[in-house]
């Protein structure tokens, strides 16, 4: 698949830990590759913070949104497209 470029935005403790608000990352259109490539910039622990290798998917408690939509609401086949904005939140809440 042709390479696409997406903007990743980090929030809360993830932003604090990695010291960046956002970064542009190239990938092959899969979430796995996007996170893998982001880890090359941010450090290997980023992959483990966000992705569950054993389950082969984004960690259950991470809120991972593509253009404002949670991937859990987007069905099985998810493709990241050029200029997509990816927002990644650690577990948070309020009221």
């Amino acid at each position: 698949m042709a390479g696409v470029s997406a903007k990743i935005m980090l929030f809360a403790t993830l932003r604090k830990k990695y010291g960046v608000k956002d970064l542009n990352v190239e990938c092959d259109g899969t979430i796995f590759n996007l996170i893998e490539n982001a880890s090359k910039i941010l450090g290997g622990s980023f992959f483990d913070d966000v992705y569950d290798k054993n389950q082969g998917k984004v960690r259950e408690n991470i809120i991972f949104m593509i253009n404002g939509r949670n991937i859990k609401d987007l069905g099985e086949k998810i493709e990241i497209k050029d200029n997509d904005v990816i927002a990644i939140f650690p577990p948070i809440a309020g009221g």
Partner: protein, 617 residues
């Protein structure tokens, strides 16, 4: 026999018209059906309503600011029990709200709730009205009505500090009103421990109308527990679960509630410029991350809470400098910042500080200021009414000035003090009030989060998020993820959240525990404290009973299915941008299913439902 095990067994009844104080027993029968806190208060309010009806006084003619209104401060069996998760709270209810004409209801943290129990009482019921300012002092089981003339006019901080010193004793806490309550601003709140408030529906104005400046509680009695060993074990398990839970153990302690600003904005549901859209281009500037990085000095927990979501903040320099404050939490940041399009967080922190100092609900106030800004920008407010107040979206100085003007009803403040519904009616555009049943909706646009729209529409006290916080499954994925833009299953979630929240508000502990604890945990905790064998079904039934009796009360004021609705903007105007672009709230589809699940007909509980819940009218 005096009710114990979770209860102190006594209720203080203060008749301010005659200046008499009476002590009554807490009823075991009522407690078993309604627990305490909100539930017990709803039960008592219904008895008052029946009494008025029997005397020929129609409920709809009860003046919210007249002596006939009732004000109840109530704790529950969990309140003040060491080890009962986050149980530093109490609930306040009034027969009628001056803001909405419906039932008055608010909930607050801090220390006041537990300290009321340590002073020997489960609840305080306030009837009538005094001719001169008074306060109630409850110390070690003895209650006194005292003169508060010297305190009238003082702000919340001064009142609290003076009374804490004057009354003294172990575990002393003050719940009071500021100038906003004294002046009957319709969104005045009751503030305890300087920065915690029973914020919504104008309860502070009710207290002010009774000339009741404060209730001071102090004592060192312990709350008895039926099965201490069993309770200790369940408590340990629940507290461990909260510590390990990524939300209650990490997210909330680190960032407080304002961390929601960015995620709700990302989902396209952060109301901006009086709900004209759900995307705020400046959300980052007023976010929890910015607050934590720039303003936060330390955390502050309520009594007995291991979460500690409270923020101690300061604005270090500039025109909005504050040496030390608390907050703002998410709703305040949104109402004072996003809804008004004010992106200067210094100003938002200052406006929030003034709300605490003067005794105002930031949600209703911020929303009312935002509505006034839209009215003004559309040319609907005559210049002479504004008296130089430049109410334009984004004007930070006008925001801060509006707070004290409202509290003192100075200049245009007399209109702001009415709340958005009456304000917009005055200027001929009721459609610009973003309220339900007269109560301004909080910080989630239901065009992007559909379930919360059904909850706003059907919440008994009006536009309220914490009546049934479906944002939890819809956005945060707790306890499971559901799609915020779909309608399926929303009615079921709204009902469960509304019923369970009634249990939490009657326990009384913090709703945030429900991010980590289940209904089963509550059943076990409450069983061990009270000695009653409560199952999950019992718990939900109690919640449902409370919600239905509260609904019966608002029905008596004339609220029914026609009022279970949303502002036209959310039903007819498509969301203009963001992930929810093109969406409206398809309310009627969800409402039909909800009524069916509730057993309601046109917003009224059916006779069969009331019988099933053992509610005798």
């Amino acid at each position: 026999m005096r009710l114990k095990n979770g209860y102190m067994g006594k209720i203080l009844r203060a008749d301010l018209s005659t200046g008499t104080l009476k002590v009554e027993p807490t009823s075991e029968d009522v407690a078993k059906k309604y627990l305490g806190g909100k539930g017990y208060a709803v039960y008592l309010l219904y008895q008052y309503l029946k009494e008025y009806e029997s005397k020929g006084v129609p409920p709809a003619e009860i003046d919210p600011l007249g002596p006939e209104n009732m004000l109840i401060f109530a704790t529950g069996p969990g309140t003040g029990v060491p080890g009962f998760p986050s149980s530093g709270r109490y609930h306040v209810m009034a027969l009628r709200s001056p803001l909405t004409g419906s039932i008055g209801s608010g909930n607050s943290g801090g220390e006041w709730g537990p300290f009321l129990k340590f002073s020997g009482f489960d609840a305080v019921v306030v009837e009538g009205a005094s001719d001169k300012p008074v306060y109630i002092a409850i110390v070690d089981g003895e209650a006194e009505l005292r003169d508060a003339s010297a305190l009238w006019g003082k702000n919340v901080f001064d009142t609290t500090r003076i009374l804490k010193k004057k009354v003294g004793g172990e575990n002393t806490s003050v719940a009071c009103i500021g100038p906003a309550g004294e002046n009957s601003a319709h969104m005045a709140c009751i503030v305890n421990d300087e920065h915690r408030a029973a914020g919504r529906t104008g309860l502070g104005a009710v207290m002010g109308s009774k000339k009741l400046k404060a209730i001071v509680v102090s004592g060192s009695e312990k709350v008895p527990v039926a099965e201490p060993d069993k309770f200790r074990e369940i408590s340990k398990r629940c507290l461990d679960a909260m510590r390990k839970n990524t939300v209650t153990g990490e997210g909330l302690p680190t960032y407080g509630t304002a961390v929601l600003v960015n995620i709700i904005n990302t989902a396209g549901g952060l109301p901006y410029k009086n709900w004209q859209t759900g995307v705020n281009p400046d959300a980052e500037k007023i976010s929890g991350e910015t607050l934590a990085g720039t303003y936060l000095t330390q955390r502050r927990a309520c009594w007995g809470c291991i979460v500690g979501c409270g923020r101690v903040t300061s604005v270090k320099s500039g025109p909005f400098q504050i040496l030390a404050s608390e907050g703002p939490e998410y709703e305040s940041v949104w109402a004072l910042g996003s809804s008004t399009a004010v992106k200067d967080l210094d100003a938002v922190v200052k406006a929030n500080h003034y709300c605490d100092e003067l005794g105002l609900d930031p949600i209703t106030l911020g929303s009312t200021i935002a509505a006034a800004m839209e009215l003004n920008e559309r040319g609907y407010i005559p210049e002479e009414d504004l008296q130089g107040l430049d109410l334009k979206f984004g004007n930070a100085a006008a925001l801060v000035e509006s707070v004290w003007r409202t509290a003192y009803k100075a200049g245009f403040g007399k209109y702001l003090a009415l709340g958005s519904k009456k304000l917009c009616e005055v200027y001929g555009h009721p459609e610009l009030s973003m309220s339900v049943k007269g109560l301004e909706m909080p910080a989630y646009d239901p065009r992007a989060i559909k379930g919360i729209g059904l909850n706003y529409a059907t919440a008994n006290r009006g536009g309220c998020h914490v009546t049934g916080y479906t944002v939890s499954p819809e956005i945060l994925g707790i306890p499971e993820k559901i799609d915020p833009l779909k309608l399926e299953g929303k009615a079921k979630w709204v009902k469960i959240f509304q019923d369970f929240t009634c249990v939490v508000n009657s326990t009384v502990n913090c709703l945030f525990t429900t991010f980590a604890l289940s209904i089963k945990d509550y059943a076990e905790l409450l069983s061990a404290v009270t000695g009653w064998n409560l199952t999950e079904d019992d718990i939900l039934k109690i919640g449902e009973r409370i919600y239905n009796l509260e609904r019966v009360i608002i029905n008596r004021y004339g609220f029914d299915g026609k009022d279970d609705t949303l502002p036209e903007r959310l039903i007819k105007e498509k969301m203009p941008e963001g992930p929810a672009k093109g969406q409206v709230v398809e309310l009627e589809k969800m409402k039909g299913e909800y009524y069916k699940l509730r057993g309601w007909i046109n917003g009224k509980p059916s006779p069969e439902k009331l019988k099933e819940l053992d509610i005798k009218l």
